[in-house]
Symmetry: C2
Subunit: 675 residues, 2 copies
Amino acid sequence: MEGGPAGGRALGAERRAAGLSAHVAPGGLRPAASPAPDLPASPLQRLLEGDNHEMRDQMKEAMRDPAFGFRFDLPLREERDLAYVRLRHLCQQGLWSVKDFLGDNPYRIFAAHEVAGIADGSMATKMTVQFNLFGGTVLKLGTARHHGALLDSIDRFDQVGCFALTELGYGNNAVEMETQAVYDPASDELVVHTPSTLAQKYWITNGAVHAHFAVVFARLLVGGKDHGVHGVLVRIRNDDLSIVPGVRIEDMGHKMGCNGVDNAKLWFDHVRVPRSALLDSFSQLENGGAFTSSIKRPRDRFLKVADQLLSGRICIGAMCLSGAKSALAIAVRYAHSRLTVGPKGKSDTPIFDYQLQQRALLPLIATTYGLNFGLADTKRVWAAARSDPALQPFSVLSCCGIKPLITWHLQEAATVCRERCGGQGYLSCNRLGSIIGFSHAGMTAEGDNRVLFQKVAKELLDLVRRGQFALVDVGLPKPGANMRCLDTLLGVFRSRESKRLMELGTRMATKTGAGETIFEVWMKQESDLVQATAAAFAERQCLESFVKVVQANENSGKPGMDLLRPLCELYALTRLESELGQLIIEGLLTTEHAKAIPEACRALCQALAPRSMELINAFGIPTHMCQAPIAMDWESYNVVDNQGEIVPNHTYSAAGTGFIDHKRADFPMLNQLGF
Amino acid sequence: MEGGPAGGRALGAERRAAGLSAHVAPGGLRPAASPAPDLPASPLQRLLEGDNHEMRDQMKEAMRDPAFGFRFDLPLREERDLAYVRLRHLCQQGLWSVKDFLGDNPYRIFAAHEVAGIADGSMATKMTVQFNLFGGTVLKLGTARHHGALLDSIDRFDQVGCFALTELGYGNNAVEMETQAVYDPASDELVVHTPSTLAQKYWITNGAVHAHFAVVFARLLVGGKDHGVHGVLVRIRNDDLSIVPGVRIEDMGHKMGCNGVDNAKLWFDHVRVPRSALLDSFSQLENGGAFTSSIKRPRDRFLKVADQLLSGRICIGAMCLSGAKSALAIAVRYAHSRLTVGPKGKSDTPIFDYQLQQRALLPLIATTYGLNFGLADTKRVWAAARSDPALQPFSVLSCCGIKPLITWHLQEAATVCRERCGGQGYLSCNRLGSIIGFSHAGMTAEGDNRVLFQKVAKELLDLVRRGQFALVDVGLPKPGANMRCLDTLLGVFRSRESKRLMELGTRMATKTGAGETIFEVWMKQESDLVQATAAAFAERQCLESFVKVVQANENSGKPGMDLLRPLCELYALTRLESELGQLIIEGLLTTEHAKAIPEACRALCQALAPRSMELINAFGIPTHMCQAPIAMDWESYNVVDNQGEIVPNHTYSAAGTGFIDHKRADFPMLNQLGF
């Protein structure tokens, strides 16, 4: 197979001999479509990255491997193999470790997610399950007897793991799960069992094809007593990938996106594992059945075992923010090379010149910057909270607030970019469709966004009640206030959060005082306010993070830093523009203030438009990780019969068990990509 | 192959013998997940349909053929075959004809699109190209010599056609296309030629696999003179599907959705066709090269040849509105059967009970009704304009206004439904992902939505200038006005449209009067207002249509008609809620009026929630066309190893040339589906 079937080359050769001379483009019709050759990282790129610059660069270099050439018309089995091969290749570089979660530089593992998310949502998803959910849980809930050689094998992707938490019947109420781990004192074993259809483990990433191990969450039953949900390390496949007896693995099949992820349904039919398989850092089970736990209430143990969901939200945010960067880089590059109707009716004007295009794309770029800096601070508070319990509630709030903001933003950005790229955006090779699919995975993974926002609002109210959260209501901006002033904007964001929290607290108190249940008021009457409160909190945090970055950098004299302030203004104003009416109704803005906001957004878009390439180049996406033909020389791409593919698909191993390297053949993108 | 490989059955048998007894669901945990057995059509369903009830019922019955069983992990070739087989099966029923475009009942062909869009966006897309773009163009631009036996073959799908308009370089500026049809007097032939890479025909549906004919749009060149764009009927494949010499067909490959559609890039290398291949209803070319045309300016001929794009927008709207109905039916049915956290923390409460779910889904249902009635009136004005030129501008406005509203609505509805169905919504078998993909095809097909909106605003301004369009500005609603009053709401919609049109006209006049070019002002300064004006027009039309339906039916005494008024209110209020701030800024509402709107929306959602099943049953989607497991008994679906498929995928013919019927095997959905 090496070099691909002769057909591919012959087709190209025949094309060159017979057809191309008649099909050359008229000169000068289009501006250079290719981006500039990959540039050295700008100060703006380093600012967005925030940490681990060298490791990020190394990881991107490792993605020059031909395995990272995108393929599209593939059966599931091959998509999964590709994601596996890619991730394994990266893991073998030794650039990060699951142990980073407890070390000095936990940012390394988040950086790995960010780089992974630029290129492949499926690979990034398999990565986050291997390192955060599975690896992180073994690391933190397990003890020396589990760590042994396993942690190193996790790092190298030699042993693949999955995180078997969700059950079919208990998607958003996992604490009610049914799976059991029954202690059998006779054999000193745990018997893991799935008692019903609704109890099957569902959505288990890495499960359908690749995983050797699962951390199975189950009710620990000892002598008839339910000790709550615990994690048990269960081998589900042998090293030769044969399935362990008693374990039933079913492939969940085709999905709307991320089809490189092998999601499984897992059933356990009285599967016996040694007592030592219990992850026992906080609960211990002795031979004979004596049970002790540092956590008193069985129900509270669930929160402990699900702890990796918290850093998981950072991981999802990191992956998904990179997805938004990819989508915007593709759309902006295309908009600069795509010519359409100009002043005289000829096709001579790049669509990026249209206000329509600028108004669609630049606010999304600004929001991407805002969320980037917000996520950076979320990482910091999460890292600090590892050793400072007082910070724990703020870490929870930040993680549960930023993940929804980023994943919804990704959905919006990818959708708008797709639409603004027209038909070209619809082709799989231009990647926007797969990024939309990626966004949907993010929106409901590691906690449905709306459920997380409920949690944020609830935790905030609790903090306010305990006097641990300062409310800042600075009142209306002055009449005639400059709505582009960051202090003014911060004031509006703070007042908005404060007013909503106060209002929500008041309504809860009033209505429950009048005899209604908390559940009734919270779930059936005040849902809009609950959601709006959480959004106000999360967006205020991001704006504060962004303003700090502006203040610390805008006078540094480094190139590009002059862009930070207008970007920050556009971020804040865009958030306000999306709910102007609500802000007026709540008394947070007057009509006069509101009127200035769309005008300011238009002015900022116009001002930033000439710098748009600089803004997206700072996303640090090298050509070989972008790949979308419309982000490069799409006319060359369309000279040959590309079949909608970027690399010659037919050289991929049909056996589904490995990856066969391809030659450059006649695919013109390969040279552009630098593989 | 009949009956499927034994493996499928054996797996099920083994499951029954070995596993199921241990995996029965605990009784009473879930309410009945199945929808009621398919009900007779309600008066509300008939009202939504509007016309051709019997034909719609027959077409739905024809979809009981097993070819309509959905399959997911398929290579492109098989997806295309499936779409082809399905469409051909329907065409052979003889329920509609391309000739309907000129007949008494043109609604029949739109109804066919509506029914098709419920089940399969790919099949519907192939249908609309065969019947509207290709067939309709042959019918209207062609003459007797083209019609001959071809029209009947089109109806039966015996001859498949495509519509080769768009070129790579001229997506939104097709009038500038490069393809040539050069008259050769020596042979009395036309020579069709693709002169450059950018001139290749792009996105040509039905082209990659199935089409025998293409209507090729090309500049007609006679003796060096360019007579503008004309349509030429070119055979591209012989009856045995071998490709005609000189025609180069390239498969565009994988897309983000509608992969059953075989899009092609077409190149013509001096392909010779007889002079009679020119579609000559308005331009005639005689032997020797004498050319006459009833349309004077060559550039105007383009508008004539692209005429089917207008009815095409109705077709796209019809298909896509059905997509929204499918998405909502799936999401609402699931929300009634999916249990999650209730008042006591147990998983005992259907998620539809949550205000969050109701607030997300009910406004989308109301909008679906509003667009349905708006589309019905668009069809009427289009049909009337066929014989009344004075109505033509209004037909253009309606068609160009409704298509964007519907396709954006589909995008929003499918996206929200996906998110509100959580992980289940992510599985391909639950169809929401494919509906999102379908929506994106609609948003930029038959004219990019934003470009159509520009056209609407421009045409409106022209009509206003010519005194052919009445502006109605009724001013602000009275203080304390009931914002649920339909008269009040209609007044706001009319004033909004009127104010924006006036404002846009004023700004254009002022700025161009000050020396700026129209292009500069329209494309680079007033884009937001242009778009908002078109939206105000199109939404006002829909609301007026809906109000007429309310008035004509609410007192009919038929069941369900009491739902119309609150639905209409919710439709209108939802549109206003989405841009409250803008309405206040424009002086169309006071803050007090605005404040009442979200409250009214919440009240209406609460009031309509208990009738939600009635509302979605009126969409007329029988179980065998819905298929999504989460809309049926999803617990049963998950008892067996379904591989994410609904019907046994592996019995589909791998040869890719035909369809092999499957047996019921062990797939539990087949009985539910009634295949």
